[in-house]
């Protein structure tokens, strides 16, 4: 595959195709519609399933159905549509079927607007639906990373029989950038041990999220939690730059992290010991690495395109060791490096005026 200029939404779609997605179900919503449109063209060409559903509710339940049949299945939407899908997320998590969902986030709450936002962080990382679980959430900051994480999303979904979100925003969805697709994976049959394919020569398989007997449901939850603990312990991912000697580390995911990178580089040119930490997994949050950094730095500055959501995870990871401050824009306003630089400079000056940390 060659490097080509690709729009984020199209790259996400084609990367899913390369990863062997056999069924896509979706509903148009800005700013992710190009993903659906690309699937509408490509999936039938490849003899794979595409349905434009009557709603996001129907779309996620179609995904649930196809996933029950043991194939790689996905949908994509943007914030208001993700809210509608929450019912399905909960059933999917309870039933332990692998599904991938792309959220190209836009400004909220309500109908909000169609500009880029990161305000679905709580929704996606805490509990995307009722009940006691977390979904895996992967946050790319570039078109290439969107492609790479799309493949990883399907692998993790299959490995853990779990729901995986790819968390983008309107900017990544609409941006064109050079990127390279992976080779097309062959379609392979998976999950014959539990998938619904017809009880031919075996006992029937049943997929249900219903457990009326409380101890049974408690046992199911404990099994889920055991799985989530393994995911929590083994799947934390992050990237960082210029953190070795940093006194101040900026923490941002996705687009906010990428924009902050330019501000951090500017601050370095001005002689400030500033680094960048960018979580790639939002759940599990990369707390191991961040708490190690908390031993080293004097403060964290969290930058988000919301009013402060991931900051709660940063505070938990920092464990009260260092101050955690916040800079954010919301409502679809994308921060520019200049304003993040100002926030870095102001905080850095404050740190300088304090006695150094032991």
């Amino acid at each position: 595959m060659a490097v080509e200029l690709m729009k984020g939404n199209v790259a996400l779609a084609e990367a899913a195709i390369c990863a062997g997605v056999q069924a896509y179900f979706g509903y148009p919503i800005t700013p992710q519609t190009e993903l659906l449109e690309h699937m509408a063209k490509r999936m039938p060409e490849l003899g794979r399933a595409f349905v434009q559903a009557e709603s996001e509710v129907a779309a996620i339940n179609m995904v649930y159905g196809a996933a029950c049949a043991g194939v790689r299945a996905m949908t994509s939407s943007s914030s208001p549509g993700i809210s509608l899908m929450q019912e399905g997320f909960s059933y999917i998590a309870a039933s332990e079927v692998p599904c991938v969902v792309v959220d190209v986030m836009r400004g909220g709450p309500g109908l909000g607007n169609i500009q880029p936002s990161q305000s679905d962080y709580f929704q996606l990382t805490r509990s995307a639906g009722h009940g006691d679980y977390h979904a895996i959430a992967l946050a790319p900051a570039s078109v290439q990373e969107a492609i790479d994480l799309m493949g990883l999303a399907f692998d993790l979904a299959d490995k853990y029989r779990h729901l995986v979100f790819v968390v983008a925003d309107g900017l990544i969805g609409q941006m064109m950038e050079p990127a390279e697709l992976p080779p097309m994976q062959p379609i392979t049959r998976r999950h014959d041990d539990w998938a619904l394919t017809g009880a031919d020569g075996r006992a029937p398989h049943v997929i249900t999220s219903l457990q009326l007997n409380a101890p049974d449901l408690e046992a199911l939850n404990q099994r889920l939690q055991a799985k989530l603990r393994i995911i929590h312990d083994t799947e934390q991912r992050s990237t960082e730059m210029l953190t070795d000697d940093a006194q101040l580390v900026v923490v941002g995911f996705g687009t906010a992290g990428r924009i902050a990178q330019t501000a951090v580089q500017q601050a370095r040119r001005e002689g400030m010991k500033v680094g960048l930490f960018r979580p790639i997994t939002l759940w599990p949050f990369p707390e191991k690495r961040l708490s190690a950094l908390a031993d080293q730095v004097s403060a964290f500055l969290v930058v988000e395109m919301n009013t402060g959501q991931m900051i709660e995870d940063v505070r938990l990871a920092a464990g009260g060791q260092v101050p955690v401050t916040f800079y954010g824009r919301t409502g679809g306003v994308v921060p520019v490096p200049e304003e993040i630089y100002d926030a870095i400079r102001d905080l850095y000056r404050k740190l300088q005026s304090r006695p150094a940390r032991e």
Partner: protein, 260 residues
Amino acid sequence: MTISAVEEKVVYQRPESLSDVPTHYCPGCTHGIAHRLVAEVLDELGVRERTIGIAPVGCSVFAYKYFNVDSAVAAHGRAPAMATGIKRVLPDRVVFTYQGDGDLAAIGLAEIVHAATRGENITTIFINNAIYGMTGGQMAPTTLPGQHTTSSPGGRDIEITGFPVRMAELLAGLTGTAYVARRSLHNVKEINRAKKAIRTAFETQLAGLGFAMVELLSSCPTNWHLSPPEALQWIEDYMVPYYPLSDYKVIEPVQDLMKR
């Protein structure tokens, strides 16, 4: 003790497509009859091993325990969407949904209408008993005018609640449907007619002709506060006049199937 001297002839037995377990249905409830009819048809068509059933939310939520086929339980009303997902990736399997009136005609109206209008090649068995059974007898979208339920305690007042939904007629109006019929389970003759319709609905799918639904008027003695025989009589006296038994949509290739 051996009775081999007596010549035995099996005249009635459990279809292979029904699991050998007691159901949780109330005495006199016709879900059991509907289950048996579906199971007999799956046996007769020889498709049990490649059938996938989708249970609803409602009294028949445990249908997956009773049908001896691969099954899933959908979220309330979403069985047609789930069935769409399965059928689209496994087109050679037989996929059916089994849904009640709250599930199909209220919360899942969008999903059934769109599965039908897309002409999804699936089969839907729709149990209309004019009430929410599992939650204890509330008004359903198919509750008759004047009918007493726990959420229409003075009788369903159409001035306030509007009118019951006639699903067979509604879906028959969609170009995408291939076969839509309404039958009843209140006596032997109608049960036999119901089975034929169920068979046609599955044959429609096997022939790749598109969406088929059989609506079955069904009893709920518990929540109607009637004895089982009274409940069957109530279907005949009150439900059948409001929900006429008929074939509402039979596209020509399905008519040909029925002649065979």
